[in-house]
């Protein structure tokens, strides 16, 4: 079975891109399934099911979705194997730009939205910079100039990756996404593999339910802002 990790900020069009590509793979006789990760709720599982794709859903709830994803992806892989899938696509929302869901040796796709503006690619961290393929959506509703500038910025943000435009509504560009997915490496197991980069960290009382504000509660992995006017020798 081939495994592909798909990540991108909320509402960029991950589900649409996956659906378009999955339909093409399905047409070519491949069994495609989806592991959908979200935080509070999702309606996307219904969209997948409607089109006949087996889907398993994981809701991270109060946990960092990235951490939740990596603790569950092995079980998803096993689920896909039990279902006899040829291709398993995991979809997870990168809720912060520091998200880092990609795994060494697993084909990694990042979806970005041309509507987000030309400066966005440089602000996205490992999710974009360490992906193998960057799919740019909503290119049809921005001007040709912005498309070119956006693509240029994506290329600077991840010079090693392939990047392409895909229209999640008409499916334009989905053939190319599907072709890339078809060639993703086969993954028998994940045990012993590593993330391409550590996930954003947070181990402090607030991680486990603290709500009170104040210095006495700030223990563990705490990072403080710097204020230049408080540093010695600097005038406010």
């Amino acid at each position: 079975m081939r495994l592909i990790t798909v990540a991108g900020s909320p509402s960029v069009g991950k589900t649409s891109v996956i659906l378009r590509a999955a339909e093409i793979l399905h047409r070519d006789g491949l069994a495609v399934g989806i592991a959908k990760f979200d935080s509070l709720s999702t309606g996307d599982d219904a969209l997948y099911e409607q089109r006949g794709f087996p889907v398993v859903t994981g809701l991270a709830g109060a946990l960092c979705p990235d951490h939740y994803f990596v603790s569950n992806i092995e079980d998803c892989l096993a689920w896909g194997q039990r279902r006899g899938l040829d291709v398993l696509i995991s979809e997870s929302a990168g809720l912060c730009n520091r998200c880092s869901p990609h795994i060494d040796g697993i084909y990694a796709l990042c979806v970005v939205d041309a509507l987000a503006g030309v400066h966005t690619p440089r602000k996205i961290g490992p999710m974009l910079r360490l992906a193998d393929l960057v799919v740019i959506t909503k290119g049809d509703i921005v001007s040709q100039v912005e498309r070119e500038v956006f693509a240029y910025q994506v290329r600077l943000a991840n010079p090693g990756a392939r990047a392409l435009f895909c229209n999640g509504i008409t499916g334009q560009g989905a053939d190319e996404v599907a072709r890339a997915l078809r060639n993703a490496p086969v993954v028998p197991e994940l045990e012993g593999r590593h993330l391409r980069f550590p996930m954003p960290a947070a181990v402090c009382p607030y991680c486990v339910g603290e709500t009170a504000i104040g210095e006495t509660h700030q223990r563990g992995n705490v990072k403080k802002m710097r204020f230049r006017d408080l540093e010695s020798g600097v005038n406010p």
Binding site: D140, S143, R147, R155, G160
Partner: protein, 336 residues
């Protein structure tokens, strides 16, 4: 090679490759005085800063190396395209198209057919340089050869610029800053001069002139179209321009097509507009998802085009008079 890169003092690197400075800036890293060689500087970065930046040292080194390579690649002028060939596939019923169409640089080909007949699919096949791997089974050749993967998968060096109808500007920049931003990405020698030229050219295409200082989001539909056509003709890297209709409001279609084909572009326009359809050198008739016919614009059609243009001029004139608050009482003279 990465060894040489590691030994290069950072300030030299930043001097020679501004993209490296942009990259480090985007990661929030401070280059310091830049005296240290890159490798040394990376080794001295605190782990915490790397963790915040979201990249490990060796990933960063590899990234910088690829970045420099890509930017040098982009700056290299691309080989001009002389022709695009479309090898027919099949229509929606599986009937073979039996078409081999070669379009040369400077040529304008129109695509006509009812809504839903497959005009957009044809544009999409060209846009993705289909190789028998789309539902139509069509294939696209460049200068008579199948395109390599690097041509299919480099979106910022894309062969095809597409001007669609429902486009918006997301950035809120003045026209001048916007076109300058594009020119900088295209790495043209005279960025400001090029921007001036594109804006002047766009103003030549539209009845309603605009200033370079106005924000792109405030342009009218016609002004936007004119600006995008001028940009596609003069600044876009793409030798092929696909246009999904040019609305008649406020754009001089004749000049627009002349500008595009004069820039040795290969122009394909999907249109229902008689003034555009008849101005093409040829037009493809789409029926049931397939190319049913290729029509070369005839002499009689060219004569009729002139008559239609006179008629259109008359309509434009009436529109202009109405806009200025005049009455249209005098009997209009129709062309014979």
């Amino acid at each position: 090679m990465s060894g040489a890169l590691e030994r290069t003092p950072l300030h030299l690197l930043l001097d020679r490759h501004p993209c490296v400075g942009d990259f480090l800036g985007a990661l929030g890293l401070d280059a310091g005085d830049g005296q240290r060689p890159l490798g040394d500087w990376l080794r001295h970065l605190p782990d915490e800063e790397l963790f915040d930046a979201g990249m490990a040292r060796e990933q960063m080194l590899a990234h910088i190396q690829r970045l420099i390579g890509e930017v040098e690649d982009m700056a290299r002028a691309s080989r001009p395209l002389r022709s695009l060939t479309l090898l027919g596939g099949r229509d929606k019923s599986g009937q073979a198209e039996n078409v081999e169409l070669e379009v040369r640089a400077g040529e304008v080909v129109c695509i006509v057919g009812p809504t839903g007949s497959g005009k957009s699919r044809l544009l999409a096949d060209i846009e993705c340089l289909a190789q028998g791997d789309t539902p139509t089974g069509r294939r696209i050749l460049l200068d008579g050869q199948p395109p390599g993967d690097e041509r299919r998968y480099a979106p910022d060096r894309k062969l095809v610029a597409q001007l669609s109808q429902n486009m918006n500007f997301v950035v809120d920049l003045s026209v001048r800053d916007f076109i300058t931003l594009h020119a900088r990405c295209r790495m043209v020698a005279d960025v400001e001069g090029m921007a001036e030229q594109v804006i002047a050219c766009a103003n030549g295409l539209t009845g309603e002139k605009f200033s370079p200082e106005v924000s792109v989001t405030q342009l009218s539909g016609g002004q936007t179209r004119a600006l995008m056509i001028a940009d596609a003709a003069l600044l876009s890297a793409s030798p092929v321009v696909l246009i999904d209709e040019i609305e008649n409001a406020g754009v001089d279609r004749k000049r627009a097509l002349r500008l595009l084909s004069g820039g040795d572009k290969i122009v394909l326009i999907s249109t229902h507009d008689p003034l555009l359809a008849l101005r093409g050198d040829r037009r493809l008739v789409i029926r049931n998802g397939g190319i049913a016919e290729v029509i070369t614009t005839g002499d009689g059609e060219r004569d009729n085009l002139e008559r239609l243009e006179t008629l259109d001029g008359l309509l434009m004139d009436v529109r202009d008079r109405l806009r200025r608050g005049l009455r249209i009482e005098d009997r209009l003279e129709w062309p014979h």
